[in-house]
């Protein structure tokens, strides 16, 4: 067994995953004009559902994490130059104009034509995938052979242990048909019940919606069967199925191998500079992350 061991339970990972998922939401709103054309947008996303599972094959599985695009509002505008006719004098007198022709202007608005598109909460993407956490020892290319570890630290190019995500397979549904259809059905049922049965009390309408809810869920489940099988097979075989997912995995692999999620300086400083006194640094060896069914374990040795 190694000198240092830290293990984190799967339950802790699940709670952490849920917290980060619920807290992660971004949105932006802005507008732009291109001559007579204008566009404004209010777009954002949040995460819903999904599970994280530590697997016995040293990997972490994330299943059916939904990306909900909400808000998703787009407004296209066209501003046609204003056109006015009339308004000139048709009966001039020495004391001024006696009669003006009425002035009529068209296309006075800005924009004159507006096409709003509001798909907030309707469209969803879904991400599933499995990955390993790899460790890699990194020596900065800028470090010269003559540099000591302390020289490298002073130059801000210390050696590091890097933690990298290694995607095994990815399944990305840019538009999650099942959930998107389900959301549209939910919205349609809400509108229909509220409009057609508006004479009923609120509790009665809520009851009807509640009765129809499982039907929509059934539709979601049926539409998702194909994707579930796809994900199950991907996890079983450890490869992405489908050209898009295969390419997505390769792209994710490329970027993940260049962008560590965490770095640990080596040797690791346990006491900082104290005036002229050098920091105390401890060399770390054999750093490894292993994943089992119930926990993730980080192990390391302290070198002499």
């Amino acid at each position: 067994m190694s000198d240092l061991t830290v293990a984190v339970s799967e339950d802790t990972f699940r709670r952490l995953f849920a917290q980060v998922r619920d807290a992660l939401a971004e949105s932006t709103a802005d507008s732009a004009s291109l001559g007579p054309f204008s566009v404004s947008w209010d777009v954002g996303f949040r995460l819903e559902d999904g599970t994280v599972d530590l697997q016995a094959n040293n990997s972490v599985l994330i299943s059916e994490l939904d990306v909900v695009y909400d808000p998703l509002k787009l407004t296209l505008g066209i501003d046609i130059p204003e056109l006015c006719i009339g308004g000139f004098c048709i009966l001039p007198t020495p004391f001024g104009c006696a009669v003006h022709l009425p002035k009529i202007c068209v296309f006075s608005g800005n924009p004159d034509i507006s096409l709003p598109l509001d798909l907030s909460g309707l469209i969803e993407s879904e991400i599933s995938g499995a990955f390993r956490i790899k460790t890699r020892y990194h020596v900065d290319p800028a470090r010269t052979p003559a540099m000591t570890d302390l020289d490298a630290e002073d130059a801000d190019i210390p050696n590091t242990w890097q933690f990298l995500l290694d995607p095994i397979w990815l399944d990305i549904d840019l538009i999650d048909i099942a959930d998107t259809v389900g959301n549209i059905l939910d919205a349609a049922i809400d509108n229909a019940v509220d409009n057609l049965l508006g004479f009923l009390p609120g509790w009665a309408r809520d009851l009807i919606k509640a009765i129809l809810g499982p039907v929509v869920d059934l539709v979601r489940a049926i539409l998702d069967i194909g994707d579930d099988i796809d994900e199950w097979l991907s996890n079983l075989l450890g490869v992405s199925i489908g050209l898009f997912d295969f390419v997505a995995t390769a792209v994710a692999d490329y970027f993940a191998s260049r962008n560590p999620i965490f770095s640990l300086e080596d040797p690791y400083p346990i006491l900082d500079y104290d005036g002229p006194l050098i920091p105390v640094k401890v060399p770390v060896r054999n750093l490894a992350v292993t994943v089992a069914d119930t926990e993730m374990t980080l192990e390391a040795d302290v070198a002499a």
């Binding site: 240092l4 830290v6 917290q19 060399p283």
Partner: protein, 278 residues
């Protein structure tokens, strides 16, 4: 059986790793473990035990010893002192079961859920020869005479000076201590503390002197040092960016986790619960 069957996070450190870390600290910060007067700082060969610093310590010109004033000689009104050095030359930890070193018979076998500490301290005091001592004695006598006559009442005294000497007698003592670690309540807050269970200085005679030294050291540790090392356990909150905060607390002891922290199988183990919040 998983390490986290009864907690959220488990951490452990093997005594081998802890001892290697101690060695790194001793080599990279030798001035924390070696003390002496300017004489020893300028003449390392006079030290009782050679220091083996990390090459970077030498390259960066870091001091090997912390310079201290000479030991004042009583009756000289702070005018004269003796050169001395004091070194902590060994620091080694053995977590139950005791298998790295043998404890002295007075401490017996290392009990369960305890760890043993072996240290070696060496020291030396410069001992001037008789002729030189008597010359300095003449100077002190003259000063006393002038003081009694009020001739040097307003003259500032020079700083403490060591009496020159080249004779040093080194001594080394081996000290063993057994320690336990427990979570206790301090001022209403749970704290992790180290507690001295036993202490033994080897081969000091006569026995009452040994007992007196042990009493002084043990009392200093129990009253002055270890209480200040207690770590409050209610303030460990880590932010994970803007997404989550983690509050950690020790896992309560139970039949499943009878000791926390646990000192067993040559390791210091800690069982921790984690609360995840926004």
């Amino acid at each position: 059986m998983a390490l986290t069957d009864h907690c959220d996070v488990f951490g452990s450190a093997h005594e081998d790793g802890i001892n290697r870390i101690a060695t790194h600290v001793m080599r990279q910060r030798p001035s924390l473990f070696n003390y002496g007067t300017q004489l020893f700082a300028s003449n390392h060969e006079l030290l009782c035990e050679p220091i083996h610093p990390h090459p970077e310590v030498v390259r960066r010109g870091n001091p090997l010893i912390t310079i201290e004033d000479p030991l004042p000689i009583l009756g000289t009104d702070g005018l004269l002192g003796l050169d001395f050095c004091f070194q902590l030359t060994r620091l080694e930890l053995d977590v139950h079961p005791g298998n790295r070193f043998s404890l002295p018979p007075q401490l017996g076998t290392l009990p369960a859920q305890q760890m043993a500490l072996r240290t070696e301290v060496c020291g030396a005091v410069g001992c001037p020869d008789r002729e030189l001592s008597e010359r300095y004695g003449d100077i002190i006598a003259a000063i006393a005479r002038y003081e009694s006559q009020g001739k040097i009442a307003d003259v500032p005294l020079p700083p403490l000076q060591p009496i020159p000497t080249k004779r040093f007698e080194c001594f080394c003592l081996e000290l063993f201590a057994t320690l336990s670690a427990r979570i206790v309540t301090t001022a209403g807050t749970p704290t992790l503390g180290l507690f001295l269970e036993g202490l033994e200085i080897v081969d000091v005679k006569p026995d009452p002197l040994e007992s007196t030294m042990e009493c002084v050291i043990a009392t200093t540790l129990r009253v002055g040092i270890l209480p200040r090392l207690r770590v409050a356990l209610d303030a460990f909150t880590f932010e994970l960016g803007k997404f989550a905060s983690l509050s950690v607390s020790p896992t309560p002891t139970s039949s499943a986790v009878p000791h926390n922290p646990a000192l067993e199988q040559d390791r210091i183990k800690a069982f921790v619960n984690v609360a995840v919040g926004p």
